[in-house]
């Protein structure tokens, strides 16, 4: 039986029950009484800072007051009206950087209202009930293509469906959800929540999903734009940045996102191989998710190496603390220089860095860490699509998500902005509103013109 000290990469380092306990819900749901107590702490602020801090602008004081007054389901609907993936956001949002970071009780006591957990309580209450709280408007006869069934695409599709448009989603993978399903740490989305949430979302009707359909091979943006009344691209970032160092191709060196996707799709976590000595290169949420989960699977040593100082890490403070609490070591100001080994990786060489204000550079001093598994988590990249202008390395869009091609909108990680689920939801929703205005506005304009002619005709 393998254990944490078993050399190399091995599955089943911990007993099944220990792995199950390690991957249990990170923030168990508040029960009704806990929710009431937590809700009572909300001050119902004027022009509340938490709302402003929420990319989807959920009316937080309102939904919390609804919980406090005994209507958790209605509270959930308040949330879902603004953010149809409010359930997942309650689980994965870096709340300390968003709503809870802005909470006045954070200022007052260093202990914000537990907005994230209250949101989960409320959204769980809605989803526990049979049925879907939203209804579709009368069919408009308009058809919209959405590429990517991730948070941006699902949010856009749902909003369009409520407006009466028919939506076809093209999804490259086998299941919907995007990073909700294939990314993020398993302990944030237990019990198949990502799939349950999508199934619930699809109850609105008017949305069909075609799997195994990606842009490029058999789908093109132009083709979709000519076939549909509008197109929304929520394709995310398909490419992973390479380390660009000696040994990058050795066995045991892999992309953190791929490994996390394997983990999320694994039916049995004891069958998922993990190294004894794991090193994660990067400083974002993905690096933490990979590092922590490697540790929870039984890796003996897990080190996250980040090339800049700690305050520059993309991962939130909560995530950094979580990693530390699980025994993951975070080394800052260290960049990878080479991965050594004989075929398979055995060791990573890191060089210390310094930034004197003129840019990051290596100091020349190096260290070596045993490493039989190395994860690249230094960012993902957008794969450009023909005919669309870029803004830096991502799609150029207006505030409402319009790309430079007529009839084509985009949102989520493939456009600029924070790579957060909640931002993707907001962008998908707002693009849907703009698409709706465009589609129905065009109709209205035509009607107006017709009426105008009729009026002129009457005059004549």
């Amino acid at each position: 039986m393998p254990d944490p000290l078993t050399p190399g990469i091995a599955a089943g380092r911990l007993a099944p029950q220990e792995i199950a306990s390690n991957f249990a819900d990170l923030h168990p749901a508040l029960d009704l009484h806990e929710a009431r107590v937590a809700a009572d702490r909300c001050y119902f602020c004027y022009d509340a800072p938490c709302v402003e801090a929420c990319p989807t602008e959920i009316d937080i004081p309102l939904f919390i007051r609804q919980i406090a007054n005994g209507q958790s389901e209605a509270a959930g609907e308040t949330i879902l009206e603004q953010n149809v993936l409010g359930g997942m956001c309650a689980r994965v949002c870096p709340t300390e950087d968003l709503c809870e970071g802005a909470c006045v009780r954070e200022i007052a006591e260093g202990k914000p209202v537990e907005i994230g957990r209250l949101q989960r309580h409320a959204t769980d209450s809605v989803m526990a009930r049979q049925g879907h709280p939203f209804t579709r408007a009368r069919s408009t006869g308009k058809r919209v293509a959405v590429v990517g069934a991730g948070p941006a695409g699902l949010s856009c599709a749902h909003r369009l469906a409520t407006k009466g448009h028919d939506v076809t989603i093209y999804e490259a993978r086998e299941r919907p959800g995007g990073l909700n399903e294939y990314g993020i740490a398993a302990y944030k989305s237990v019990d198949g929540f990502a799939q349950r949430e999508v199934n619930w979302l699809l109850e609105i009707g008017g949305i069909t999903i075609e799997y195994g359909r990606a842009l490029g091979s058999d789908l093109s943006v132009e083709g979709l734009a000519s076939e549909f009344d509008a197109v929304f691209l929520g394709v995310g970032l398909a490419d992973v940045n390479a380390l660009g160092i000696e040994g990058d191709e050795r066995d045991g060196v892999e992309n953190a996102v791929s490994w996390i996707a394997d983990l999320r799709q694994a039916s049995d976590l004891t069958s998922l191989p993990v190294g004894r000595n794991v090193v994660v290169i990067g400083g974002g949420m993905t690096a933490i998710d990979a590092g922590v989960q490697a540790k929870l699977l039984g890796a003996e040593n897990v080190t996250i190496a980040y090339r800049r100082s700690r305050d520059r890490m993309g991962a939130s403070e909560f995530e950094q603390d979580l990693a530390a609490s699980k025994g993951v070591r975070i080394v800052c100001n260290a960049q990878p220089k080479a991965i050594h080994g004989n075929g398979a990786a055995t060791e990573i060489e890191l060089e210390y860095t310094a930034d004197d204000g003129s840019g990051l550079r290596g100091t020349g001093e190096t260290m070596r860490l045993p490493a039989d598994q190395v994860f690249r988590a230094i960012g993902q990249a957008f794969v450009p699509a023909a005919g669309l202008d870029l803004d830096g390395s991502k799609l150029r869009v207006t505030e409402a998500g319009r790309t430079t091609m007529a009839k084509v909108w985009a949102g989520g990680d493939c456009t600029k902005g924070d790579d957060l689920t909640v931002v993707a939801v907001a962008e998908g929703r707002d693009a849907a509103e703009d698409i709706h205005a465009e589609l129905t506005g065009a109709t209205l304009a035509a009607t107006g013109a017709v009426l105008g002619e009729a009026a002129r005709g009457a005059e004549a």
């Binding site: 009431r36 001050y43 602020c45 004027y46 022009d47 006045v104 007052a108």
Partner: protein
């Protein structure tokens, strides 16, 4: 260490904290434990006339109002007087009093409004050695339908009459417990005094329906689909009780009449407030029913510590100290001008002061960039609403304008003189100052 011993109309107790006549004082077992826990006195659960005792409902007797974290703020009850035989209660009272001679034990009584009924029970109560009696003219539910409790307390003539009977047939102190379910509390207090009462105690509970069960469409507590009004008590009623106590304390006819204060006493501070408004003892029920008998320990320590801090050597020194400062509105100084001041360091930017002032008051708070809230002196009438809604204690305060300063709202200079409504030029009934 301040002296908490109390002498209330000759009834001595180790401290001014008495348990009010209510469920906690219904039997020997409870009362012994209460004394052991540190209560200074007990008013035994109200005794009824000899004969088959009353019966209570067999469904819920209490309803509640909650604050944050299910903190009980108000309690309502539909329980009647003791439902145990008179003889049992009297025997137990005698035993307890014999074992606790230094503690106050008072018998609460409610019998029909007939002289014979009172004449019959009083000697028997006297035999127990109880230190005095309290006439229950207050219960607003159940017994009042039978012409007792509040039904007596709402008719000053009856109060005077029954009090007089009691003074005739009983030679220890007679305390008259008043109902708040009346327009002017001074009238029953005057009646009690005229009848010869040694003291009054107030308030009894307030008519109430705590809530409505919206599924059953019935008041709570609900008994088989129906509900009845009950008696309201607990922290929520304290302001009403304080006001009524103060009315009796400063009324020309009842001034100096000893008062045992009742109504939402939950902490030492509540007790100190009742005492300052003229109460020689306080009676507690809901706090004990919520937290158990041990709660008296905080009350005693708190009152004692506060008295030490203020230099009061005994409770009697505190009694009535605030009464001279209770006045009528017309005598309030209209030339006393304050303005709200927000301590920006303490402010947590919740904006509740802004919402309250902007939506419901005088639009006297400005919201500036960065969620900075500032008082607009030109508009501030010093209403205090911002202070009241601010979640941070002492963040907003009312600062007095010194004589000579100009109130930017009115343009008037603060004179520093006392000037009330009775002499105000806008008052058609104004009294002209002497030439």
């Amino acid at each position: 260490m301040a002296d908490l011993t109390t002498d209330f109309v000759g009834i001595k107790s180790p401290n001014p904290f008495w348990l009010a006549s209510a469920p906690p004082t219904d039997k020997e077992y409870n009362v012994r434990r209460a004394f052991e826990a540190g209560w200074g006195g007990v008013v035994w659960k109200t005794l009824g006339a000899e004969g088959p005792p009353v019966v209570n409902v067999n469904g819920p007797r209490y309803g509640a109002i909650y604050g944050a974290d299910r903190r009980l703020l108000g309690l309502n009850n539909i329980e009647l007087i003791t439902d145990r035989p008179l003889e049992t209660n009297l025997e137990e009272m005698a035993r307890v009093k014999a074992d606790y001679p230094d503690h106050a034990l008072i018998a609460s009584i409610m019998v029909p409004c007939e002289e014979e009924a009172w004449k019959a029970i009083l000697p028997r109560v006297a035999e127990t050695g109880a230190d005095g009696i309290e006439l229950n003219f207050g219960c607003p539910h159940g017994m009042s339908e039978r012409g007792m409790g509040a039904a007596v307390g709402q008719v000053p003539e009856y109060i005077e009459m029954v009090t007089r009977w009691c003074k005739t047939y009983y030679d220890k102190p007679v305390i008259v417990k008043l109902t708040p379910n009346i327009t002017d509390i001074r009238k029953p207090a005057q009646a009690a005094k005229n009848g010869g009462a040694d003291a009054v105690s107030l308030i009894n509970t307030i008519n109430s329906i705590t809530s409505v069960d919206l599924d059953q469409m019935a008041p709570q507590p609900t008994i088989d689909g129906k509900g009845s009004h009950g008696g309201y008590c607990g922290p929520a009623v304290k302001p009403i009780a304080l006001s009524m106590v103060s009315e009796i304390a400063r009324d020309a006819e009842t001034r100096g009449l000893p008062i045992s204060g009742i109504g939402g006493v939950t902490t030492w501070r509540d007790a100190a407030e009742f005492i300052s408004l003229g109460c020689g003892s306080v009676q507690v029920c809901t706090a004990a029913m919520t937290y158990g008998f041990r709660v008296v320990e905080e009350m005693k320590r708190g009152l004692s510590a506060w008295m030490d801090e203020k230099g009061y050597a005994s409770v009697s020194e505190v009694v009535g100290r605030a009464v001279p400062n209770v006045t009528d509105w017309q005598y309030l100084n209209l030339d006393y001008v304050t303005k709200a001041r927000i301590d920006q360091e303490a402010c947590i930017q919740c904006g509740r002061c802004y919402a309250a002032c902007e939506d419901t008051s005088h639009q006297a708070i400005a919201m500036k960039p960065g969620r900075v809230f500032e008082v607009i002196d030109e508009e501030c009438v010093a209403c205090n609403l911002c202070v009241d809604v601010c979640p941070v204690e002492n963040c907003i305060s009312m600062v007095e304008l010194a004589p000579g300063e100009v109130d930017p709202r009115t343009g008037r200079t603060v004179s520093g003189e006392y000037a009330n409504w009775t002499t105000h030029p806008n008052n058609p009934m104004a009294v002209k100052a002497a030439e």
